[in-house]
């Protein structure tokens, strides 16, 4: 019995009687002189302007007559009794009356109420051209217009430009009188690009190779090496999983394990590593079951969901829960791919964007066959497991038959052991045959729900693409007979149409954000009218056009960005004039340095300590000793090799942050996340300085350095020399450079007095280690 949000306006049906209509009086009140001032003084507080309450605007004639959400015209000309405007302003019921008691505006006096009623009864004459606002077309918004590939702008220093995107950056800088920063040194660029593309620091060997490589394509070959590394997919998949709020538990109160969710996580990593074209990447996540990419449909069901036991036993509760589950699918699809918050139109027309409430439900109709369920997995790995199960079952049957025949005691012992072992293997193999991904059934009938309330169904609707784009894209509509897969495929094709104005723009902007920390459009998942404007609109369109022209290749975008002059700039101290105009470096007059994310910090610590376990895929390792219930999630403080895998392979508990790195703004997988925060807290400092993880890795780091600096042994003459070499090696591993003399001296003193692990612990906490340079 969930609480229904019963808004007072609904009750008007009770208030309304079938009272006789009054006839128009000859001396009808004048709208401009008498009525409009009343509306301004008493109604416009809430019912004027773009964000008008309940979608009702009284500042524009057509809108007033159209009415607000779910209540029809506010004014019925000639019939005051049937006009909500008159009824609500007249009511004495605090639940109904307008303005409501909490409004600043005063109520209408009896005379004013009579005046308003008289005006309506007299035909509600509202002259043209007196409105206090003008309607604009909500479709008239930059992001909804077609992508047009712009000409490269001319710039003052063409020699600075390395590729197309640089021309746009340079031209914009010139327009405000700024110049780019000098090129970063090779060491800085290598460390930046390696951390950026793989989430791990360069090894000393990689540094030496690059620093001594004098060939013309040295930079290009580094980028190719990094993009070909499986470490790349592990790094960039995390960005995508943030958006879709991937987790290995169901969320909400019980937060039980979502046992087989991980094939989707592994699919994202693999898709990125093999540079699956982005249009396919989208299509497979929506309808991978049609392309032999079953795990990809895990995308549809990444959100938290209430399990049957958590939903009320009554039918209304079940309907409500189903609507919540579908809402999360719509949010995934529209926020992730389109950068458009269609989810906001669930209860009313979108406040800002051209998305009608009907659009929400016609989109729901594409997806209403999707359910959140653990189900049979259709993939080669699952087929292999099924074959193995058949084999194991045969062996089990044979052993059991022999047992039934009464073997010798010795043989019986062996057989019983075998059967127990077979059962264990069967359980393990059975898990591999299942997946938590979209589960597909006959689509639910979809109704337009008044105020989003499942108990107030309106029209039956069918799949229909967002009407606002009908002028630019062939609309897609399906009838009631269309099956589930047909529906999802139609939606996928509509989203990935090369002319879709949003799909490519949204993705290239995300890629830009992942490289530079902030997108050209800051609100990466909201390209709507309430989102932010692009800092470089032409560049965004140029990138989008390049992206589609190059077959939606994500790796190609990476190449263009990291090899650009823009990306190669130093991130160092700001020029005062640039700091004054653009302290946040949005115009990219320098590279915006920033703190690494939680996963990159943990992974880098393990890489430096030499203990990073590079095993890929599968269920993942635990961060907690046990789950939920009374003890909550007691963290594991000391990890074995399994726990020293990359953090993307941690078994992700929704809403429960990892005990050391969670404090570094690790998302909780509750809501979709377009961009990581980068906060700085004393809790982070306590965790990173004092935790067993840090102490363990500092010791392993020290042991590694000791081993790698082989050398003249322990006699006193050589001790200082050896310590100096150890300090140097530790610096090369952690920050890819040798210490300067001051640092060397300070570090050697600490090592001499307190051991190498103290230095290693300090290095793992330095800003230089923790920041993308």
């Amino acid at each position: 019995m969930p609480q229904q949000v019963v808004l007072p306006l609904v009750l008007i049906a009770v208030v309304l009687g079938s009272m006789a209509k009054q006839t128009a009086a000859a001396d009808a009140p004048d709208f401009v002189a008498e009525i409009q001032p009343l509306l301004v003084a008493h109604c416009y507080e809430c019912h004027a302007g773009e964000a008008a309450e309940s979608g009702l605007r009284l500042d524009i004639k057509s809108e007033a007559f159209r009415g607000g959400d779910g209540h029809g015209p506010a004014v019925v000309a000639g019939d005051a009794q049937a006009s909500p405007l008159v009824q609500f302003t007249r009511s004495d019921d605090p639940q109904l009356q307008m303005p409501p008691p909490e409004a600043v505006s005063a109520r209408l006096t009896a005379e004013q109420q009579a005046l308003l009623a008289a005006w309506v009864d007299a035909g509600a004459v509202w002259p043209e051209g007196v409105d206090t606002a003008v309607l604009a077309d909500r479709r008239d918004h930059w992001a909804f217009r077609p992508v047009v590939r712009p000409q490269l702008p001319d710039v003052d220093q063409p020699e600075w430009v390395r590729n197309g995107l640089d021309a746009f950056i340079k031209s914009r800088l010139e327009a405000v009188g700024l110049s780019p920063s000098p090129e970063a040194d090779r060491r800085t660029w290598l460390r930046r690009v390696t951390l950026d593309l793989t989430g791990l620091p360069p090894t000393p060997e990689e540094s030496v190779a690059f620093l001594t490589d004098q060939t013309a394509d040295a930079y290009e070959r580094v980028v190719e090496r990094l993009l070909a590394s499986p470490r790349y997919g592990e790094r960039y998949a995390q960005h995508w999983l943030d958006i879709v709020r991937y987790a290995d538990t169901h969320g909400y109160e019980v937060n039980t394990e979502r046992v087989n969710a991980w094939p989707y996580r592994d699919w994202v990593i693999d898709a990125l590593n093999r540079d699956l074209p982005y249009d396919h990447f989208v299509r497979q996540q929506l309808v991978g079951d049609a392309f032999g990419e079953d795990a990809a449909t895990g995308f549809l069901v990444t959100a938290a969901v209430l399990l049957p036991g958590q939903i009320g036993a009554d039918e209304a509760s079940k309907r409500q829960a189903r609507q919540e589950a579908l809402a999360d699918i719509i949010i995934n699809v529209s926020d992730s791919f389109l950068g458009l918050s269609v989810g906001c139109a669930r209860c009313h027309d979108h406040k800002f964007d051209p998305v009608a409430q009907r659009d929400y439900y016609t989109m729901q109709a594409f997806l209403s066959g999707v359910r959140y369920e653990d189900r049979p997995y259709h993939a080669p790995a699952a087929e292999a497991a099924r074959a193995r199960i058949a084999e194991l079952k045969q062996q089990q049957a044979a052993a059991e038959a022999e047992l039934a025949a009464g073997p010798t005691d010795e043989r019986r012992g062996q057989l019983e052991h075998d059967v127990a072992e077979l059962k264990k293997q069967l359980t393990a193999e059975t898990v591999k045959t299942r997946v938590f991904a979209g589960s597909f059934q006959k689509p639910d009938e979809v109704f337009l729900l008044s105020r989003g309330d499942p108990e107030q169904p309106g029209d039956l609707v069918w799949p229909q693409s967002l009407a606002a784009f009908d002028d630019q894209l062939q609309p897609v509509g399906l009838g009631p007979g269309a099956g589930d897969q047909t529906r999802r495929l139609a939606l996928a094709n509509w989203i990935t149409h090369p002319s879709h104005p949003l799909t490519a723009r949204v993705m290239v902007n995300r890629l830009w954000q992942w490289h530079f920390g902030i997108g050209l459009v800051e609100s990466a998942s909201d390209f709507g009218r309430n989102g932010t404007l692009p800092s470089h609109p032409l560049l965004l369109d140029w990138l989008a056009a390049e992206f589609v022209a190059n077959g939606w290749s994500v790796k190609d975008m990476h190449r263009q960005i990291v090899l650009s002059a823009t990306y190669r700039q130093a991130g160092g101290p700001g020029q005062p004039e640039a700091m004054a105009i653009d302290a946040d470096s949005r115009l990219l007059w320098r590279f915006p340095s920033r703190r690494l994310e939680a996963e990159a910090i943990r992974d880098s610590m393990l890489a430096v300590s030499g203990r990073l376990n590079l095993v890929m895929g599968g269920r993942g390792f635990d961060l907690f000793r046990s789950r939920g219930g009374l003890s909550g999630f007691p963290p594991i403080e000391q990890f074995g090799p399994e726990g020293r895998r990359r953090m993307i392979y941690a078994h992700k508990i929704r809403m429960e942050k990892e005990s050391v790195f969670g404090a570094f703004d690790c998302p909780d997988a509750g809501q979709t996340l377009d961009r990581r925060r980068r906060s700085t807290t004393p809790i982070q400092a306590l965790n990173l300085f004092n935790s067993p993880f840090t102490i363990d890795e500092a010791e392993a780091f020290a042991a590694r350095v000791t081993q790698e600096v082989a050398g003249a042994g322990a006699d006193d003459e050589h001790v200082d020399e050896q310590i100096s070499q150890q300090v140097e090696r530790a610096f090369l591993l952690a920050v890819a450079r040798a210490p300067d003399d001051v640092e060397r001296e300070a570090c050697c003193a600490v090592v001499r007095e307190h051991g190498l692990a103290s230095l290693c612990r300090a290095l793992l906490n330095t800003n230089e280690f923790l920041f993308l340079p």
């Binding site: 027309d349 309430n530 340095s593 004393p682 935790s691």
Partner: protein
Amino acid sequence: MNQPLSCSGLRLLNRRGFLGETAAGLGGIALASLLAEQGLLAAEPIRPVIDPTQPHAARPPHHEAKAKNVLVIFCAGAVSQLETWDWKPELVTWDDTPLPGGPEVTFQGPAGNLARPQYAFRPRGETGKMVSDLIPHLAELTDRFAFVHSLTSRTNTHGPAENFLSTGSAFDGFPSLGAWVTYALGSENQDLPAFVSILDPRGVPQASSNNWGPGFLPAEFQGTTLSAAAPVRHLKVAGDVSTAADQATRGLLRQLNERHLSEHPADGALAARIASYELAARMQLSMPEVGSLAEESPATLEAYGANDADATKAAFARNCILARRLIERGVRFVQLFNGAYASGGELNWDGHQKLKEQYDRHAMILDQPAAALIRDLEQRGLMEETLVVWCTEFGRMPFFQKGAKGRDHNPDGFTCWMTGAGVRQGVSYGKTDDLGVKAVEDVSSLYDFNATILHLLGLDHTRLSYLHNGFERRLTDVHGRVLRELLT
């Protein structure tokens, strides 16, 4: 009630539906100035500016604050209003009869007959308000409280309902009240966390960290969990690092960071990290002090029940003392949990099956320590600037569940109260019907309750906002009314 006035407004597959923005012409400009003169323009959002080197620096409120600090006593599992604060004598009359027209099935299953309050009620204090014998110590304080008896929640499921109470959204992933408050106001004490959540000795509440999470706010506004028994994690260095090595390492780190900063002057994020290590070092010193009850007098320990023979009660009492010590030291927001995870009502207030038996025990744990805490805050003059809130995620049904001696979930009418700075004493606002099925008078939502808390702290709930995914998010979404009836 399914039919609104007309269906025509719903038929929006019509281009006009896309026409909506004001492209204000001359008339619009004139209108804007007219509205501005009358104070009618929608208020601009207020987003606090955070100094990265001092994220918890005290920040000014929007208007004069009545309260500086908040203590929220959060009773997890849904305390029955009918056994505590909402007296329903009619239930005695109709005991063990069916509720005419009542629902056949509620959250957990079939509904049984109406059931009388399981405890006697008697008039309390000067107001003579009827309060149950279940909680005799708290009942003595009745005159001080401002009750809201007509609260409603959006959901009847514990996890989402705790989310809703603590974050204003039934979904996972929204910032908690404490995060909003510390984001807005920072803290008076820079050596302690600004927002502390004290967990019940029996375990974590149902919605766990959602109740103190930062949601999409920066992580610095997350609640720090601790209890009298379990201090902040990683306060001391792990392993066998000597104090000398620890200090030398800290010194070396500072030196390396400062050298690095000198090459990157004017980088706020780098300076902030250096500052955060200084803060952490201060917390290492101040946290053990605040957590130690050694300097508490025997009389104080006795008053709270801190040495009670019942270990759970004693542990909760110690948490209550810890709460006072945190408030005393200027911690902005303290959340004190009473009750843990769903457990068939054994470890929290979720009395589905054997309500009286379980409530006898839960009340024994809550009552004396919580009442002592309020008296102690008063005696030390801390109530002058502290708002104390007692809350629970929803209420319970007036009938028992079929075949059981307990009540099912009821989100349609339940009671919470507040007391302390800026709160009128001895007020009872809103009513449920004669049987306690649902709120019928001055029906209020938890949005209203949270709006009122923010108001007392000097914050306008319609303006305190954070831009997330393109939306100005608020604790109260687009809802909420300050319950002025509760204010002095």
